[in-house]
Symmetry: C2
Subunit: 443 residues, 2 copies
């Protein structure tokens, strides 16, 4: 009776239910993340930063101390709070001991795994978010299958933790970021340039092998997550991160939250069509934005290959790309024109994003920001041609130098946020692992 | 130090603060909207529907009764709850009196105003959401200016309320839905096919004239809002409403909330570019989706006008459009081809929406759903050509017969939801009006 009700005018539906338990969890999570961000921090500054009442701060921190998650340390001369949100730190009598709070770094670890073409990065961070171990592996991923890759990943995680002597029972969350399309409902990589097979299920095998909560996401999403967690004021509300590299990725925040869409496959700007019937894309369709802008697209064009050339046969090396960029900068009009056209295509793609999503800020990053000076003017030209001025007058554009660890940073922030939103005591981690660990690990 | 923090890995930022006041408001709002939807309703059924505890239901309903917002009525034979979410109503002894709750319909009214080309619709609904008065006006909107239209709108509202004998002091919220681009930050219509001038500020003048909270939004958004409020389970999470009519509109929900974007100008699918340099759009740009799909686009093409023809000079009448549709249905290959091409363009636009936003459901509505059989197959063809199968396998498509009152319904639901989220007593409405009303109204 949906349509009828809608047309009748009255009887609208129900907003979401909230309960005190949820509030408690949310405030607790806020206190934990604020201590993580600003430790060592005094209770009074924690109150200012979180805008929670002194009574709430006292109650929550007492719980967190008794659960073994945070510690109070006494210092003789209180250091100033590292960031004070514009507010001066509360006055304290010089020399009088001050009690500061910090997380117990070893309470729990999180494991972040980045899966890309021929490259797996594994990182362990402690409860404070500090990276304590890192490993890069270079397996030839295209040879992996639906059956073999989950086994390989489990083995890599197992070996990494063993070699780094990270006790498995202390790992509270595993986050995986994969290149390509991800389905969060099934916990799988639906399609990725890293693999020749589709629908590679990862979450369930990893969860089964280690008995640890596991989560999968798209790599570009995690860049947006890293920015948001680093500075939720600047990178908040509705904003977009465009990630130009081997392809074109997008991380999208809506209403201060990562926008994953109904299946977790949102924000696939690289596979949003630019020109119907255009050049061949890695996904098999024609005219996707990526097929005009990605490294292989530039290379295919520069090498005068047909636009029908399979992107797999148009793989430039890093040196090839640097040579192209140098030629364009040195005034080679044909090569400069290729970058110009790529910039215009990117501009049209961004204009489409702006028309649909209206982000307040658009951030550009990725290895190809190196070539950004070659495409930037054309990109803005494309945006202006594609979109009426009324819909683009307030958007802020920003370029960030690329650091590939941003994806890992986002994974860590994301895993710690999930951990913070569960209510657990330090002992729960051990208990959970004792119950769920596979036999060989418990020995 | 944003970028540096982000790259360091640790110290992520802070989630949103929640407090008990917010929970109380949220639960109160949930109870109000559930009573509105299902009245008359017993406390026990209200508990089942909201999943709030009996103690919370008792406390909230006692407050709402004492504030004059709801009433308890005693009935001899309790009617069954109109919808029971699959749960049987609580057993009650036949013949024993039962206490049911309902809203006090006259506590407050909301005013909904739809602004479109040559048409202003004004509707008053009571606190239960029932439409109690409606008026349509047909002013030649293109002649209105930035200065004159706010005055006209205020006068129309004034006359309507006076003629319908709706006491101004009982009107608690005014919602305006405008055709075109809206900026919620400035409360203005940035650009609209209804006006020849841009940036027509409406919220401030209306608020100033009546001393009543006022809100402006895009018309297509309100269709999505109407569907969500009618059935939040089916029309929840991330879903899209495509509204094909004089133009192509989009209402977008993300995470159970209307997605307005940073300035409230999101979801402008009609002005998302389809083909660079394509036919002229009403907004002045070339190749917008609307310039391929809207009524004027079909008419321009069918009349063999140049694609450079100003859309203002390609205005088909309703009869013109019906004749075109009849010709296409009767087998006129040229006309059928025009609809086919429009369908393909729409398909490409929808594929772009799917790539970026990944809605779980896409609903088609609007006057042009009449012509939907002429474009539907081509639209799905366009979607399939534009987007890799992995990104479109789970989306549900649905066509809804058009009822122009859906926009009004959404406005009413939206205004009542805003009212429910404020904590007010029946007497507050009167008090607020006494303070803020302009002098001539207080006499």
């Amino acid at each position: 009776m949906t349509e009828r009700n809608a047309r009748r005018g009255g009887r609208p539906g129900a907003p979401e239910r909230a309960d005190t338990d949820q509030v408690r969890r949310q405030n607790r999570s806020l206190v934990l993340s604020t201590v993580r961000r600003r430790a060592p921090i005094a209770r009074v500054d924690l109150g200012t930063a979180t805008r929670l009442s002194p009574a709430t701060i006292t109650a929550i921190t007492a719980d967190l101390i008794s659960e073994g998650l945070i510690s109070a340390v006494t210092v003789e001369h209180a250091p100033r709070a590292p960031e004070a949100d514009g507010e001066p730190p509360a006055p304290s009598v010089r020399g009088r001991p001050r009690i500061l709070l910090q997380l117990n770094a070893e309470v729990a670890y999180v494991l972040a795994v980045k899966v890309a073409f021929n490259k797996i990065v594994l990182v362990v961070a402690d409860y404070e978010g500090t990276v304590i171990a890192r490993r890069e592996e270079s397996p030839p991923t295209l040879r992996e299958t639906r059956a073999s890759f989950p086994r390989l990943l489990v083995a890599l995680i197992h070996d990494f933790l063993a070699a780094e002597k990270v006790p498995l029972r202390r790992v509270a969350e595993i986050g995986i970021a994969a290149q390509g399309f991800v389905d969060q409902n099934t916990g799988s990589v639906v399609w990725s340039p890293a693999f020749s097979e589709r629908d590679i299920e990862l979450v369930r095998p990893v969860r089964r092998a280690f008995g640890i909560p596991c989560f999968i996401t798209n790599d570009a999403n995690m860049i947006a997550q890293a920015l948001h967690w680093a500075d939720p004021v600047v990178y908040g509300g509705t904003f977009a991160v465009i990630f130009v590299d081997y392809g074109v990725g997008l991380g999208l925040f809506v209403g201060d939250k990562l926008h994953a869409g109904a299946d977790g496959s949102a924000a696939e700007i690289g596979h949003m069509n630019h020109i119907p019937g255009g050049p061949l894309c890695r996904c098999g369709r024609r005219g996707c934005l990526e097929a005009f802008v990605a490294d292989y697209a530039i290379w295919r064009e520069a090498s005068a290959m047909s636009p029908d050339t399979d992107p797999a046969d148009a793989r430039p090396s890093a040196a090839d790309l640097l040579a192209l960029e140098a030629a364009a900068k040195a005034g080679d009009a044909r090569i400069a024109g290729i970058y110009h056209d790529a910039g215009r295509a990117l501009g049209y793609g961004i204009a489409r994003l702006m028309a649909l999503v209206n982000p307040g800020r658009i951030v550009f990053t990725g290895a190809s920001t190196r070539a950004f000076p070659l495409i930037e003017a054309a990109m803005h030209e494309g945006i202006a041609d594609a979109l009426v001025e009324d819909l683009r007058r307030n958007t802020i554009f920003q370029t960030l130098p690329w650091d590939q660890d941003m994806i890992i940073t986002g994974l860590i922030a994301d895993a710690l946020a999930r951990l913070d939103s569960e209510v657990f005591a330090a002992t729960d981690i051990t208990r959970r692992t004792e119950i769920e660990l596979p036999r060989e690990e418990r020995a």
